[in-house]
């Protein structure tokens, strides 16, 4: 049975239109800062500041840390729940939905109350401690997406058989996780990583209230109450984040992959 590719092209083009046209409108507006002509002034206004690079690299580093910590927390938990303790699944799934419902501002005030100078774990006292707190806050924000992505990935592979086979061959749990399970869920892990990075780059409220120099804070400072700069910022942020994800995708090519034949 020959399959035509037209339907796929039609769907793709319609989808591309829906997603690209609003971006085009934003770009068009951002270029209109000067009367009557198109100019890049809004962009130069935004990029000129030295803080642009500083805050962006800061957010990238925090994002990378959040991805790693997130994976470390989510993958073993999703694995063991799937393998051994399916009765915990409803509870864990509900917990992972909480960050979507609780407004980030309530979260950050909660963390400040719990981890301020006079608590057992005074994270807010030092810059490094606050950075750690910020990273963990981002892990919390990205948890729903990370968990759902990893869970979908695990559901797709036959975890039980893989584990048994690896055990028979003498692997311990850590080896199983690292060398058997992880490579088979690379696609899911990538999805989770993308979603985490996107959240970290754009996040503003938590970073601002914790007084950390994040990219979102910089964007807000530059763009608030201006007409054209916010549009330029949105475009820049979009393009840079897309680039960062492209890099992650490239790096993932070097990771060991599953041998499952897919269509």
């Amino acid at each position: 049975m020959k399959r035509s590719k037209t339907w796929a092209w039609v769907v793709f083009i319609l989808g591309a239109l829906y997603f690209i046209v609003p971006l085009l409108a934003t770009v068009q507006f951002s270029l209109s800062i000067r009367r009557g002509t198109l100019s890049l002034d809004a962009y130069t206004n935004v990029i000129q500041s030295p803080q642009f690079q500083q805050t962006f690299s800061y957010s990238l580093i925090v994002g990378a840390a959040a991805i790693v910590v997130g994976l470390f927390i989510v993958v073993p938990a999703a694995y063991f729940v799937r393998l051994r303790a399916p009765q915990l699944r409803p509870v864990i799934e509900f917990v992972t939905l909480l960050p979507l419902i609780i407004p980030p501002i309530i979260l950050v005030f909660g963390y400040i109350r719990m981890y301020n100078s006079s608590s057992i774990l005074p994270l807010t006292n030092s810059a490094l401690g606050t950075d750690i707190l910020l990273t963990l806050a981002y892990v919390a924000l990205a948890l729903p997406y990370m968990y759902r992505a990893v869970d979908t990935g695990l559901r797709t592979i036959d975890v039980q058989t893989l584990t048994e086979a690896a055990n028979i061959l003498g692997a311990n749990t850590v080896t199983i996780l690292l060398r058997v399970i992880f490579p088979n869920i690379i696609v899911a892990v990538l999805s989770g990583a993308f979603l985490t990075l996107a959240i970290v780059i754009g996040e503003f409220t938590i970073a601002s209230l914790l007084n950390r120099p994040a990219f979102g804070v910089y964007m807000q400072n530059v763009g608030a109450n201006r007409a054209y700069e916010p549009a330029a910022l949105a475009v820049i942020s979009f393009v840079i984040t897309w680039g960062a994800m492209g890099m992650i995708q490239l790096l993932a090519r070097f990771a060991p992959k599953t041998a499952i034949r897919t269509d």
């Binding site: 800062i33 501002i105 301020n116 100078s117 608590s119 606050t130 601002s208 400072n221 109450n225």
Partner: protein, 369 residues
């Protein structure tokens, strides 16, 4: 000596001490600066750089008093956020705890009652009008502005000159508020002003009248429920926005002619809104906070706000002393308009806010189907 002369002596001693204390306060600035430098930091919150020229004010403060880092938390915060930040940071001495807050008038008495702010009377205390400060020194008005319209002249040929004008059919799909009238001070004040323009008394009456006015605008199709800011105004979704005059003027400056814009103070109702300053009771850097207050209420600080188009609370005092540069005065709207500005009292504000926030949805609610 007997009791009477002892009493007389102690009273005279006290009098002498009293006078030295007041002169003490003036020269204290140097000591205050040293103490603030020892603390090394000042944490502020909710101060966007474009609001009343705070960006320039903070820079000037840093230039005048080197050695003090200024941590700027969440410039996007509303007054409620600032109060919440004080509460959440109660045990925290890190740079996340705000030292000073700049909030709406109604938050003054409530934060004092909740024990969230501490008293401090700046050296220019007496020149602050009594109606705009707490007698015990817990909170004090900092600046005010009046409700005005910012009009995108590229899209609107004839600017509306009054609230009544807005009902004209030529303004279809053009008028917007600068915030959510269920939460934002600016939007609520705009509705209040609309009510006052119909002749109602300030307070709950004007609140309800304002709601009815906006309901009419909505039914006529003139009201756009999008929150009006610089970007939507320039883009064309909200060509007429009701905002504080200092915001309108700052946004207009930001446009730099593209689009052409005009700031209009409506002729039928001029409503003023006052914001207040206070020092957090849990401020980790109290001396830096006091130094900041001294700076804000000095002539230099007050004029810094004026450069951001806000009328500083000591405006009349400064004008009497001829301390205001003429070019700054020229940039502001006609002083005659401010002469007839209505300053709603705390109670009137609270009553209007109650009426507006509770009934907005039922009276005006563009009821999404």
């Amino acid at each position: 000596m007997n009791l009477k002369s002892a009493l007389a002596a102690s009273v005279s001693v006290l009098a002498v001490l009293g006078s030295t204390v007041s002169t003490f306060a003036a020269t204290d600035l140097a000591a205050l600066y040293d103490a603030a430098k020892a603390e090394g930091q000042l944490t502020v919150i909710a101060l966007p750089h474009d609001w009343c020229g705070y960006g320039a004010v903070i820079d000037a403060f840093k230039a005048k008093y080197p050695g003090i880092t200024v941590n700027e938390l969440n410039p996007d915060a509303g007054s409620g956020d600032e109060i919440e930040a004080i509460k959440a940071n109660k045990g925290n001495t890190g740079p996340q705890a705000p030292d000073v807050i700049d909030v709406g008038l109604s938050f003054g008495p409530s934060s004092k009652a909740d024990g969230l702010i501490q008293a401090y009377k700046v050296s220019t205390w007496d020149s602050i009008p009594d109606s705009a400060k707490d007698a015990d020194g817990f909170w004090y008005g900092d600046y005010y502005g009046v409700m005005s319209f910012l009009v995108n002249k590229d899209l609107v040929a004839n600017s509306p000159t009054s609230w009544a004008d807005l009902k004209k059919p030529e303004y279809a799909n053009q008028f917007a508020l600068a915030g959510d009238p269920r939460a934002a001070n600016q939007a609520i004040s705009a509705v209040h002003a609309a009510g006052l323009s119909t002749g109602a008394k300030p307070g709950a009456d004007a609140g309800t009248a304002g709601l009815n006015f906006l309901a009419e605008l909505n039914k006529a199709g003139n009201f756009v429920p999008v929150i009006g800011k610089a970007a939507p105004l320039a883009q064309g979704t909200t060509p007429i926005v009701a905002a504080w005059d200092y915001n309108a003027l700052a946004w207009k400056d930001g446009f730099a002619g593209n689009p052409k814009a005009e700031v209009v103070v409506p002729s039928d109702a001029v409503v003023a809104g006052v914001y207040i300053q206070a020092i957090s009771a849990y401020a980790p850097h109290p001396n830096a906070a006091k130094l900041w207050m001294e700076y804000l209420y000095s002539d230099e600080g007050q004029i810094g706000w004026l450069a951001g188009y806000c009328h500083p609370i000591r405006f009349n005092d400064l004008a009497a002393k001829n301390a205001i540069p003429a070019d700054l005065l020229a940039k502001l709207p006609d002083p005659a308009l401010y002469a007839k500005a209505v300053f709603p009292t705390l109670d009137e504000q609270a009553a209007a806010k109650d009426a507006i926030t509770k009934n907005w949805d039922s009276v005006v609610g563009a009821n999404v189907q």
